[in-house]
Symmetry: C2
Subunit: 214 residues, 2 copies
């Protein structure tokens, strides 16, 4: 860590370019969560103590690998889906016809820009499902890593939802706006419930947790 | 994104090696949060509308750049600080004298392994302080990115604390254990309060947030 390769994504995030931004960071944090859950699987597989769940854990690992690739791809997909919206905002507004065309392009752009964050949210919930299994059935040596996975996945989910809410906020029809808000709300509540349950399980396994620290 | 360079850290996380694990992921997520706050600064600097806060924002950007480097370095420092503990657990326990030496080495290792996560937590709280300023005073176009920063920084902080709690849990003296738990508790409560306040501010700025989505 610390060499140029590893910090390239961080440099791109920090730059004045809007992408990658909160959306790309959410997808990447989702991929970090998936990688942590994979590590817990890898520390479980091959141990005699866990032989009765080995085949399930191998299945988890396979699904987590696909989810990680998907979330990494969503960093770029999010940036690409933002392009039409950015282009629409740059359209001329010199007369009524141009203003109308610009408004229509913005509305289409807003809808397009919601798709990658919603896809991230779905993939992150899938990561949390795998994490739930491995946190309860995997190596206890890595229980804090399962907890880290749940915390980071929850942040990634909520952070992706911000991009849905902020785009929905500018939609001109109540129907579109409400549809995207409802979908994001449902995904947030499902994912947060799962992440919090995993975290509480991890906390109960780590003996010295005090109330203040939770 | 998506090429080999960018996914090397993810591969290392996912592997059966204990480091990088939850600690390294926490430090890297802290660096992502710092980079997002830097982006908000970069989208604010040079805009006439924000000229009255420009010098403060330039200061934020400088401090965030240092915090980001510090957090990236902590990925490696965390892995290095875990080495003596891992070595101690591998020490022989064939007779009482060896068992005593091993126990003493483990206790020393546990204390050493707490330092990088505590250093991450302090750096992440500093990131949240900068984020608080830029979320309230920076470009409103990037308000969701400031929210993403707060969410990811909070997860990174809590996730780093798990490594302190799990190491403290194995400490043999109540005094050592309580000292580390108290320090982690204090940092968690300070950081979570700050992160939640930033998030509520961002939520109030994004009009279409519904209760279910928070």
């Amino acid at each position: 860590m610390g060499d140029e390769m590893d910090t390239e994504f961080l440099e791109e995030l920090a730059s004045a370019s809007s992408t990658p931004g909160g959306g790309g960071a959410s997808a990447y944090c989702g991929a970090i969560a998936a990688a942590l859950a994979s590590m817990v699987c890898n520390l479980t597989i091959g141990k005699a103590k866990f032989s009765d769940v080995e085949s399930e854990v191998v299945g988890c690992l396979g699904r987590l690998s696909i989810l990680r690739s998907r979330l990494v791809s969503l960093v770029d997909e999010d940036a690409q889906a933002f392009e039409p919206l950015a282009a629409a905002y740059r359209m001329p507004k010199d007369n009524d016809a141009l203003i109308e065309a610009r408004t229509a392009a913005i509305q289409e752009g807003l809808i397009l820009a919601c798709e990658p964050p919603l896809a991230m949210m779905r993939a992150i919930i899938d990561v949390l499902r795998e994490c739930d299994f491995i946190a309860r059935n995997g190596s206890k040596m890595a229980i804090s890593d399962a907890g880290a996975c749940a915390l980071i996945a929850k942040a990634a989910l909520m952070s992706a939802s911000l991009n849905v809410y902020i785009n929905a906020d500018s939609m001109s029809t109540d129907q579109d706006r409400q549809r995207f808000i409802d979908e994001a709300d449902a995904l947030v509540s499902r994912g947060v419930e799962l992440a919090d349950a995993i975290y509480l399980h991890v906390a109960s396994e780590i003996g010295s947790f005090t109330e203040g620290g939770r």
